[in-house]
Amino acid sequence: TIGMVVIHKTGHVAAGTSTNGLKFKIPGRVGDSPIPGAGAYAEDMIGAAAATGDGDILMRFLPSYQAVEYMRRGDHPTTACQKVIAKIQKYFPKFFGAIICANVMGSYGAACNKHPTFTQFSFMVYNSLRIQPTEEKVDCI
């Protein structure tokens, strides 16, 4: 899956996802990716977020919507992402998932749920301070 967040220089915000889902899913199964607020969410004046992982779990928590709401209340994108992961952890400690968050000021962050096979999450960043796309990593929590 790819989840993408774009903040235009005017402050206009958009987000999106594209995926072929899980291997060997039951035919007809749809994950979180095409669900607004789950796979991704965007709101001008606030920011945007996109989630990735086990869509059957993620979609139950509307993580992208929740992250944007945290940012609306003033949380830094990193904090917003971490709060979302922490919420899901309470119910599914071993879930596979990560989220990226960005606000209209251009700040961004990411978070992921740590388990033995997933300790770091890689994501890509490109902004006006860089001359090329840059891979960044966060330690899962």
Partner: protein
């Protein structure tokens, strides 16, 4: 000094990031950038987790999900379980631009895509067929069934509901960095 514009995407899919950035630099909107960035992943298939030829379902078919959201208007276009169309994010964009709906699914989404000018084609590849054959040869392991008979941790379907309350398989063990939404 403003760090805007900003492109951020999950996983180390560099070419998608670059495509979105180039869209912005050439005067495109944020929505254009998301569409073009995700479309690159659909073409390149991004580690097999996006686009055609990846993640076959139980019958060996690849289906696609995609969504695009405009934060200025709160308009959304999305497709789920899209069959036989490669450019899922493009179809989602058409849902956003040319309908007042939010999400189209399955064969009806395919029909919509065809009416919008998208090519209907097989999404399977040698790789996806091989993946599915290997899975079937291993008694359909792993799978996402529970509380059915025959025992889904040992046998293929078709399945019927059973009275057992046991979880046959933990889904957590099946979803990882190579297999995700």
């Amino acid at each position: 000094f403003s760090p805007l514009p900003l492109v951020l995407n999950t996983w180390p899919f560099k070419n998608a990031t670059d495509a979105a950035w180039r869209t912005l630099v050439s005067g495109g909107t944020a929505v254009d950038a998301v569409e073009n960035g995700c479309a690159v992943c659909e073409t390149e298939r991004c580690e097999g987790t996006v686009g055609f030829g990846g993640s076959p379902d139980e019958v060996g078919e690849t289906t696609l999900d995609a969504m695009i959201m405009d934060g200025a208007t709160m308009n959304v276009g999305a497709v789920g379980d899209l069959r036989r169309i490669k450019n899922a994010i493009g179809v989602a964009r058409r849902v956003l631009d040319h309908t007042t709906h939010t999400l189209l699914v399955g064969d009806s989404a395919t029909n919509f895509a065809e009416s919008m000018g998208f090519t209907v084609e097989d999404l399977s590849t040698t790789t996806s067929k091989s993946l599915h054959s290997e899975w079937a040869s291993k008694n359909c392991q792993p799978n996402f069934w529970r509380r059915v008979t025959p025992d889904p941790s040992k046998y293929c379907g078709p399945y019927k509901p059973s009275g057992s309350l046991e979880w046959a398989i933990s889904a957590h063990k099946q979803v990882d960095i190579h297999n995700h939404d």
